[in-house]
Each structure stands twice: as structure tokens, then as C-alpha cells.
Symmetry: C2
Subunit: 249 residues, 2 copies
DNA sequence: TTCTTATTGTCTCAATTTGTTACAATAATA
DNA sequence: TATTATTGTAACAAATTGAGACAATAAGAA
């Protein structure tokens, strides 16, 4: 019943050789910080989403293109954080395993088996409005809690760790919460995002005071959840890009 | 008298195509923060030092190799800070101008005229123990004060600006001063480095108090300069890599 | 209606950190 | 022995952060 596969892998003509990108896509489900991890067909190999750069394409655009394909979202918050360039990070064996198990016909000196330098980005997206789609090579793509990841292939674990490190550093400078929460949220929601990213509990009153002191939020109506207690206000972010020097955590 | 040049440019066989590095090399002359800028023969083009990555070489090693060639130093403090990947940053015309004015014979589809992605690093070196050497393509290499740079070719000015931005951010986290000063220095020396990097004056007593509170310095003998005033202590850094969370500026 | 409960918004006061000024302790030199 | 410029530290004020207290709810239960 099954036909012989004759698929062609990405072409050398179209893409810059030796160059790839990888993306750590963060989402927040209301409780935990998660990232998208894909699994390749019949290999048991887990990886973060990556791709190649077209010969006449900005790297930023290549990453956006990949994210669009997998999440359906455009206008995603993206941050380039490191380029991984050791020789040892590349693994021809791993690439071969992936391609073979996807039914590709590839010769031994195919460009995908070469050494690759990877430019790594992290993305922040609103968990709720995404239905992740696996790409052609992948079996599945799923959210995994940041502290419960499957073993990742090659150096992908190191990439994720470095992404998280950078995300934590940028928590001070950029408005991280804006990209991980819906437009309106409670102060507790925001605090939970901060705690999930930092991996530690914060003091409620201090957090609230500091966030409010920054004057980056607009207060809206109250949210009545049905809980037997005072209803919290809803907030939204005032500005897209204030960049203040103040700390809030 | 002069012979016809028949030099060969770097070979496509040896290097990864489309991939380069650029380095912003910071030094401190006791007063100002400076960087190394080179000028290409007969072109009036100024650039920061860069190079290519061998096919079987870690990118970090490629940068170290380039730095060693130009400064004679190994064991240089290096920090990768960004990868520049827009299509528009590359300029075949500029490359052609440089190669032609160096007497190279290159065909029109030479690999150096292709689009390049550049991984950018900054380095911190001790100004005093360096005698910069121009490379084969360059006329000269000289120190320029960070606020008095010549016009730089292509996007090199943006690379320098981003390097400085990153250096300022890392002033908190890493022991920047260690790499820009001699082994022993006065508190005033250290403050001057901080001021040169930040581009602003700091309050003497607060600076001294905060630095001392971090307990990263060892106090040595006094330094008698011959000035008609109290002699300052000399200090050195205690540890290579403490990484404290405290701020000191 | 009136309790009870959990949560929220805000206030207060203590502890810590930072900003600012003051001042004594030098190294030369006059 | 004065004079001068600079350095190391102390002292106090101002600002920020930590830690608790507490009144104001929004339900549901009594």
C-alpha cells in the first residue's frame, strides 16, 4: 500500500550552507513556563525547532518564517541571544538518522551532513492562541515544562539553558510579561510569570509595589472569578517598549 | 622596480563560505577607552578587525587566532555579543575595492563577494603590552578613542555601538576592569575605567565603598607617585571569575 | 441578613542600600 | 613647620526594599 518515498531534502541551491538557526519558543500556560519541543519520526530524537537561511534572506526573517510555519503567528517577540559555533556540536550521524527515518534519499556528502553554525533565538508567545504544527520531518511538536524536558539531541539542551539565562537577564530590561500573557491579566498572573521565569517565589507586596511604581500598566475593571474573596483588578501594558532602568524583581 | 602582484586571496577550500567574524578590541590607555581600527591600503576604508572561520575550526578559536595575529596576545578576554545577519550588510563593491587595491586578482563570482553573516565579539586587552600589527590587507592598525572614531565601512559602526552597549551591561556581571588594567592599580584607576566605559562621572566615595564591599580586591602596598598628597593603595583582583550579583556603579 | 473564608490593595515601620558631605590622614614641597 | 592635593572613612540623609499588618471585598454558608 505504501509508496516508495522519493522526497527531496532542502536544497543546497536555496540555502546558505553550514548555517542554521535554532529557536527556543517560550510559552506560559498560567502556571508553568514551557517550550516547544519536536520529535522526529521513528527516531526518538527530540529537538527544538530550527531551520535554514535562504541565500537572499535576513536571518531574522528566516526565523520568523519558521515560527510562522510552526505556530501560525506573525509578529512574534524574538530575541537573538547566542551563536553556537563549535565544530563538535554538529553530528552527521544524527542528521542521517533523521533523514533516513523520514524516507529521504541522500548521498553521503550531502550538505546537511556538513558542520553547522547555529544562530539561536528565543521567542515569547501567547500560549493560548497557538496550535503547534509539526513540520515535514517531525512526528509531533508539543509543549514541555522547562523543568521537565525530554533529553534533547546534540547541544540543544545547552541552547535552551542559555536561552533561559538570557531571558532572566532581560526580565529587567524588556517587558517580557507582555508577550507571555493575554492582553488583560491580574497582578497575580504577572507575578506568576515572573516566578516561573526566575524559578523562585517573590514577595507579593513588594512585587506589586515595584511594578506599579514603574507606571507601565493601565488598570481596568475588576475580574470576578466566582471565588469567595476580593476581586483583583485587570491590567494591561501601557506601552510597547518603554525600557526603564528600574528593577522589579 | 615593483613586480606584478600575483597574490591569492583566502581560499574557498579553507574557509566556511558566507561566514565571517568581526572583533571590537577594547583597550584603555589610562584615560580613554579605545578600540583597534585598521585602514585598508589605498582605499581610505576603515574597519574593525575581522576574519574567516576555517572549515574545521571552532568560531571562538578563529577569533583567537585573528587576535593573536594582530596583537601577539593569547589568552585574551573574549565575549561573543551578537551575530549580524541582514542581507543588506554585505557589500561586494567594498570587498572588490579592498582586494583590487591590494593587487589581488579575483574573478567576479569570487566567494568573498558573496553575502556574509558576521559573528561579532569584543575583546578586552591590556593596552600597554600590545604592539598592533596590520595584516596583509591593511595599511595600518591603530587605537582610536571610542568617541572619536573615523567613519567605518559597511555596518562596522553599528557593530561597535552594540559592543559598547553589551560591555556596559556586563560591567555589572563580569570583572571588566581586570582585563583593561595592569595587575596592580589604584582605586582611581579602576574608577577611571568605569567612567570611560559608562561615559559618565561616578561619585568617588560611593564607588570606593561599593567596590570594597564586593570583596573582590586585595589591597597591597601604597603607590608613591611623588605627588604632594596622600599615597593611594594599590589593589589587584582576588579571583578570576567571582560573578556577584551586586552593582557597583 | 449576617458570618466565614480567601485574596487583594495599601499602609506602616524596619532594614538595607545609596547619595552627600565632612573630615582626618597623609606625601610631597615651600 | 605650614601648605596643598588627594585618599580613606565615617556620619548622616534620602531612597529603596523587606516584612507584616490590616481593612476591603466577593463569594458561599449559616
Amino acid at each position: 500500500m505504501s509508496t516508495r518515498k522519493l522526497k527531496q531534502p532542502p536544497s543546497n541551491e536555496e540555502f546558505i550552507p553550514h548555517l542554521a538557526y535554532d529557536s527556543v519558543i517560550f510559552g506560559f500556560n498560567g502556571k508553568q513556563l514551557k517550550i516547544l519541543v519536536l520529535e522526529y519520526h521513528n527516531t526518538g530524537l527530540f529537538a527544538i525547532p530550527g531551520g535554514f537561511v535562504k541565500r537572499n534572506e535576513d536571518i531574522n526573517d528566516a526565523v520568523k518564517r519558521g515560527l510562522k510555519e510552526r505556530t501560525g503567528l506573525s509578529d512574534i517577540y524574538l530575541e537573538q541571544f547566542h551563536t553556537f559555533g563549535s565544530v563538535s556540536r554538529s553530528s552527521a550521524e544524527t542528521m542521517r538518522e533523521i533523514l533516513i527515518n523520514n524516507g529521504y534519499e541522500v548521498h553521503n556528502d550531502h550538505w546537511l551532513f556538513d558542520r553547522f553554525v547555529s544562530i539561536a533565538y528565543y521567542a515569547l508567545i501567547n500560549y493560548e492562541d497557538v496550535q503547534p504544527r509539526p513540520d515535514e520531518l517531525s512526528d509531533s511538536i508539543n509543549w514541555y515544562a522547562i523543568d521537565d524536558l525530554p533529553p534533547l539531541m546534540m547541544d540543544h539542551r545547552a541552547i535552551v539553558d542559555k536561552a533561559l539565562e538570557n531571558l532572566r537577564e532581560n526580565l529587567d530590561k524588556k517587558l517580557i510579561g507582555m508577550n507571555l500573557l493575554p492582553a488583560k491579566f491580574t497582578m497575580k498572573d504577572l507575578q506568576t510569570v515572573y516566578e516561573a521565569i526566575l524559578g523562585e517565589k517573590l514577595r507579593r507586596t513588594t512585587f506589586q509595589r515595584k511594578i506599579l511604581a514603574r507606571e507601565i500598566l493601565i488598570r481596568h475593571e475588576k475580574l470576578f472569578t466566582g471565588g469567595a474573596h476580593k476581586a483583583p483588578y485587570l491590567y494591561s501594558f501601557k506601552d510597547k517598549n518603554p525600557i526603564k532602568g528600574k528593577k522589579y524583581a
